[in-house]
Symmetry: C2
Subunit: 329 residues, 2 copies
């Protein structure tokens, strides 16, 4: 009987629950709106119903190894407490693991959502052939994860991986975390929109100004469309994104010398707009990166290339990674 696990990707607006077999095949996926407004009890109730349903449905043909849940926020790994979750405000200090375990009568594993996405990419996506990688998820915010020897590096309190809060420009834009110039302020969808609004306000971006006035849903996606169509101001914004990511990845390469750096999340769709600047920054800023480029002077057997690449699993990464958690136990 093949193994399977249930994975949950809990978002601020949607929740997905999947039965995933040991080969990574999604046997079934249940999608629901998270209905944050109805409160965490209702969300946990829906989640547990779906977990039970999927567990029962496949238990005649597969052996259930467990349940993994990706949660957007900071999780205390020891206690299973959600410490802080900007997208699920009433979940702070909520003993979510204990509560779900009580309802299900079995143990479950929690993971931060950016870490779950990295685990997914490590298992079946861009990182499937490497043991050590770093992932940056460019969404509304910027999430990050460090995978060492095939496992998430959690650090002392389970709070490691916050690449979105590394300072790109120490005197730059104020971040909600109280630091200044965080990567999140230059590479998230929120940041792309903010940079566009700033350009519009300065009077230097007439095309973007028109787009904003015509489109009530003006967003990072719209800025990207203008960039593709050749608008130079929009293109400049994505160069700023690439520069910021490049500065941070150069730091990471110099410090950890990992084999792979994976970029995912919605803004990574703009890869062709920001990646040329990103690679230029890496060559300029990291002698460790240059030493692993094909034209270096390392002798062949020692040469292993640093790979910077897009994520492959899209919005499934977190769901697949969550299901992977109990399989790795």
């Amino acid at each position: 009987m093949p193994d399977f696990a249930v994975g949950v990707d809990l978002g601020g607006t949607n929740m997905r629950i999947a039965a995933v077999d040991e080969s990574g095949k999604q046997l079934e996926v249940i999608s629901t709106s998270t209905e944050v407004k109805r409160g965490r009890d209702s969300v946990v109730s829906d989640m547990c119903d779906a977990i039970r349903a999927l567990g029962a449905k496949f238990s005649s043909t597969h052996r259930l190894v467990g349940t993994g849940i990706g949660v957007p926020g900071i999780i205390d790994m020891e206690s299973g407490l959600v410490k802080e979750s900007p997208n699920l405000p009433d979940w702070a200090e909520y003993p979510v693991r204990e509560e779900i375990q009580r309802r299900l009568g079995t143990s479950v594993m929690l993971e931060n959502d950016a870490n779950a996405a990295a685990l997914g990419e490590k298992w079946l996506g861009a990182g499937r052939d490497v043991e050590d990688m770093c992932m940056i998820t460019l969404g509304t915010g910027v999430g990050g994860a460090v995978v060492l020897n095939g496992h998430i590096w959690h650090g002392m309190n389970g709070m490691a991986g916050e690449l979105g809060h590394m300072a790109v420009y120490p005197d730059g834009a104020q971040c909600g975390c109280s630091n200044r110039g965080c990567l999140e302020q230059y590479a998230s969808a929120t940041a792309v929109k903010r940079m566009a609004v700033e350009k519009i306000a300065s009077g230097h971006a007439p095309e973007l100004a028109r787009a904003m006035s015509e489109n009530p849903e003006f967003s990072a996606k719209v800025v990207f469309q203008y960039a593709i169509q050749g608008d130079r101001q929009a293109q400049e914004i994505f160069r700023a994104v690439g520069r910021a990511i490049g500065i941070i990845i150069a730091d990471m390469i110099n410090v950890l010398n990992l084999q792979m750096y994976v970029i995912g999340g919605g803004v990574s769709s703009a890869w062709e707009m920001f990646s040329p600047t990103l690679f230029a920054e890496l060559r300029h800023r990291s002698f460790v990166y240059r030493a692993t480029e094909p034209d270096n002077n390392l002798t062949a057997p020692q040469r292993r290339k640093t790979i910077i690449t897009r994520a492959l699993l899209g919005s499934d990464a977190g769901l697949i990674g969550a299901a992977r958690l109990p399989m790795m136990r």
Copy 2:
């Protein structure tokens, strides 16, 4: 019979070779000038003589477990080649491990000198009670090392740990590594002197200007003495040092969430001049650091404090760490 090992700390101007027993006691230390000018053959010859002498001397009372050598430069861990060494120019591309092994007839272990110093601090110094730490060595340049699970994190090519080349200010001072605004440009002894010279040139530091004109050996140490004596310009330089280190350690805490960050090297003597700014930056820039401060809201059993501290072993760290290498095998 207790174990012992021979450690070598190879510097640009001095070389020390020590027999160290399994408890960390230095049984005997031989110091020589490195005599870089006489060439690497002569240095290796002196080194091998001393290793042989110490090995023979203690072999009747102790069991020799091996020899470890700390080398200033980038080492290819697989081949044992020195890739680059600014302080030992004719050692680049030199198969130093093979050469020493040929002469001694036994295997030896190489390590980058900053990594060796971190291993020493981990074994007998500031990090003796932790498994995960990061070390920054503030010398002529700025070296770094990452220790995870008690072992040096080498990365894909053995080049990990280059904290000195993380960008503090991405548009800042040009670094020899081709990056801009590296930590090394704001926290090394070279940087302290450069910042003083810049202040003097701008006409804003009359006391330092007098010091430089009177003292042909004007150095970071002189700037430190002026800072201690209350010179505000000199104090401002060390605040800049603290700010730069704080920005980088905040990044490291956010990404790796390690338990300890150790600051060593000559410039760390100025701890009381730069550390207040360093701690202020950490509180301001790292929510992970704040979450591990005693006044946080983590529940008691989960609370473990992030420790930022001076190194304890001074210039012995690298020697002791080199001797530790064969003991960890």
